[in-house]
């Protein structure tokens, strides 16, 4: 009567209530013009049960929809989903058919520098660019963008996490040695700064490019240099081996971030084990080897001069004990 595989691929869920479904709306970057809330409200009232669920990936999920109403729901939301995806430069070829895929989840983002002082970039904008780079796609992949290493979006729990950073530049002639940067880096971050002969010296090996020194400097002797991203890979939750993502590339440019995310898909298609449903990238890397992953993913990409590749993924994560 209903083809569940097709329904799921279409971003509808198979509900525990027989005959019911729920539709998951993508909001790339988690930022939405409020005019769409009216459409979402109407959709929930006309076809759902009058409620809406805010998903962990910053989408809206409308529950209580009858499976028999799927066609009508698609028609009702056609214009909205077309416009929202278009704002990320994704053109839905057949919007009347709903979402073309649901495997690659909504690219989520922390609030970013549209509001937050700490954020080193417009995370929503980058999430939208990523959406354009990787959606639609059936591979199950979760991508999140966060504006600083505070990682409010929990990029560490995603298959690919992007952490925006900034290279702090230092104008020594504008430094009054108030030590605000030093004290703060010691208290909050990695103690990457020290004083040498009345100058602040930054230890490149320890600096995580969070930008805290820039925020604290009263004279702006520490100021914003290049925007650089840390790409982390293999984060996941799940019933076997939850794991935080580990650094794959440090100090990547935006071009590298976009290219890497695209290439991850060719790695998946080549090495995925088709047997378990939606094998996550972390498991694929474990099986194929990190070196193979790196080789495959940076193929054809010219890394920006600052970019540094990790040698290994060193966080094994947490294993639920398995009965032998």
């Amino acid at each position: 009567m209903y083809n569940t595989k097709k329904i799921i691929k279409n971003a509808f869920r198979i509900s525990k209530v027989r005959g019911e479904t729920a539709i998951r709306l993508r909001i790339p970057g988690g930022h939405l013009e409020v005019k769409y809330l009216d459409v979402i409200k109407d959709l929930a009232q006309r076809f759902g049960n009058g409620t809406v669920h805010l998903t962990t990936r910053q989408g809206y999920e409308i529950p209580g929809v009858k499976l028999s109403d799927i066609e009508k729901v698609r028609e009702f939301m056609r214009k909205m989903i077309y416009e929202i995806e278009k704002s990320s430069n994704v053109i839905l070829e057949e919007p009347e058919k709903g979402y073309p895929s649901a495997g690659t989840r909504n690219v989520s983002a922390c609030i970013g520098n549209r509001v937050c002082q700490f954020s080193n970039s417009d995370t929503t904008l980058l999430a939208q660019k990523l959406e354009a780079a990787i959606y639609p796609n059936n591979y199950h992949l979760k991508v999140a963008v966060t504006g600083c290493p505070n990682d409010c979006i929990k990029a560490h729990m995603n298959d690919i996490g992007i952490i925006a950073g900034v290279l702090p530049e230092y104008d020594k002639e504008a430094c009054i040695l108030c030590e605000a940067c030093l004290d703060n880096c010691k208290m909050r971050v990695t103690s990457a700064l020290r004083i040498e002969n009345y100058r602040i010296v930054r230890d490149e090996d320890y600096c995580i490019k969070c930008g805290e020194c820039i925020l604290k400097c009263p004279t702006q002797a520490a100021y914003r240099g290049k925007l650089l991203y840390r790409i982390i890979i293999g984060g996941r939750t799940g019933k076997k081996n939850p794991r935080m993502a580990g650094t794959f590339i440090e100090d990547a440019s935006e071009e590298v971030v976009l290219a890497v995310c695209k290439n991850v898909y060719s790695f998946i298609s080549r090495y995925i084990d088709p047997k378990p449903p939606k094998e996550l990238i972390g498991y694929i890397i474990d099986r194929a080897g990190f070196d193979t992953f790196v080789h495959e993913v940076i193929k054809g990409i010219t890394l920006n001069p600052e970019a540094k590749l990790a040698k290994k993924l060193d966080n094994p994560g947490y294993f639920y004990p398995v009965r032998k």
Binding site: S119, C175, A221, R224
Partner: protein, 341 residues
């Protein structure tokens, strides 16, 4: 008010020619908006910088930092020494033009009081820079957010070498300085002289008599809980001019430099004495010290206020502590004292 007949108008194009000749003899420093130079990502900031054309100047926005660093560099080499002998730094100092608003010109008057005749001495380093500076007035048609210059009587000034206004497709200028007159055309036009702000958006009464009993008031305890002692208020202030002195030596100590660099009474270690004795540890105490210096202590000595009401401290405070509100609170305390006897 400038005499209308003395005003000259020239086009943006003519301006380039004037600028090119002027800049052969003067370094021209003015407000410039710098994209990406803000503290937060993707933000701009209006700063004082050397400019390469009149068109580059931002005439309509308040600068984040004042122009005081031109006269009092953040780090300044006083002299160097080699084998125990001092060597004077003999930099050639080029004449400068600084574009300033009325309040900032008043701020220079405060710096002059500190450095040209502070305690009867003239500061060598300040005065050699100051002598080379000519002030160009920029007008304010209306007060910016947080401005309270009228209350501090710094809204008007007559102390300028030239006045310049940006208009559509060009500039209007009134030059008073004899040396500068030669650089500008003399086509007298019927245009208005500098306009000054006549009314603060929130006028404030400046407290006249403040006694030491105010030290004990609870408002400073409240400020201790709010202030984070970052020092931004003193850095952006056009009249804060405290500095510390340090000797920078290489490992073998054979030669080195003595430098002075900005200090801040809001920042740790400012009031530290021998034996690590520190008498203003609490943030509220530091804030009280700064506040009373700005609106009272300086006036007792010089006869005019140190604060010029530019409001930059209010603009920059990450904790939204307002100089204006603090003066208001001080007024309330004084009133309550006088009512209660």
């Amino acid at each position: 008010m400038a005499d209308k007949s003395k005003m000259t108008r020239f086009s943006s194009e003519q301006g380039n020619t004037i600028f090119n000749i002027l800049s052969r003899h003067y370094i021209i420093i003015a407000p410039v908006e710098k994209p990406g130079k803000g503290r937060f990502s993707d933000t701009s900031q209006v700063l004082y910088e050397q400019v390469d054309s009149f068109d580059e100047i931002e005439f309509f926005k308040k600068t984040h930092l004042s122009a005081k660093s031109v006269l009092l560099p953040l780090r300044q080499t006083m002299f160097s020494f080699r084998d125990n002998k001092p060597e004077e730094i003999d930099d050639e100092i080029r004449p400068m033009i600084i574009f300033l608003r009325s309040c900032d010109i008043h701020a220079i008057k405060v710096l002059d009081a500190h450095f040209l005749n502070g305690g009867g001495y003239t500061d060598f380093y300040y005065s050699r820079l100051r002598q080379k500076v000519k002030l160009f007035l920029i007008e304010c048609e209306k007060p910016f957010e947080n401005c309270f210059c009228v209350s501090f009587q710094t809204n008007k000034t007559d102390d300028w070498a030239a006045f310049m206004r940006k208009v559509k497709d060009g500039y209007e200028v009134h030059v008073r300085d004899e040396e500068l007159k030669a650089y500008f055309p003399r086509n007298a036009e019927n245009v208005a002289g500098p306009r000054f702000v006549e009314q603060d958006s929130c006028p404030i009464k400046i407290p006249q008599d403040i006694d030491a009993s105010i030290f004990e008031d609870d408002i400073w305890k409240e400020y201790t809980l709010r202030c984070i002692a970052c020092g931004r208020c003193t850095v952006v202030c056009p009249t804060c001019s405290c500095f510390s002195v340090q000797d920078i030596l290489p490992e073998d100590k054979s030669a080195g430099e003595r430098k002075r660099l900005w200090a801040s009474c809001m920042v740790k270690k400012f009031s530290i004495l021998a034996g690590n004795h520190d008498f203003r540890i609490k943030e509220g105490d530091r804030l009280r010290y700064r506040m009373l210096h700005k609106i009272y202590d300086f006036r007792k000595r010089q006869g005019f206020n140190m604060c010029v009401g530019c409001g930059r401290c209010d603009d920059v405070c990450p904790e939204y502590i307002s100089m204006f509100k603090c003066v208001e609170k001080i007024n309330h305390i004084i009133e309550a004292h006088s009512i209660n006897g």
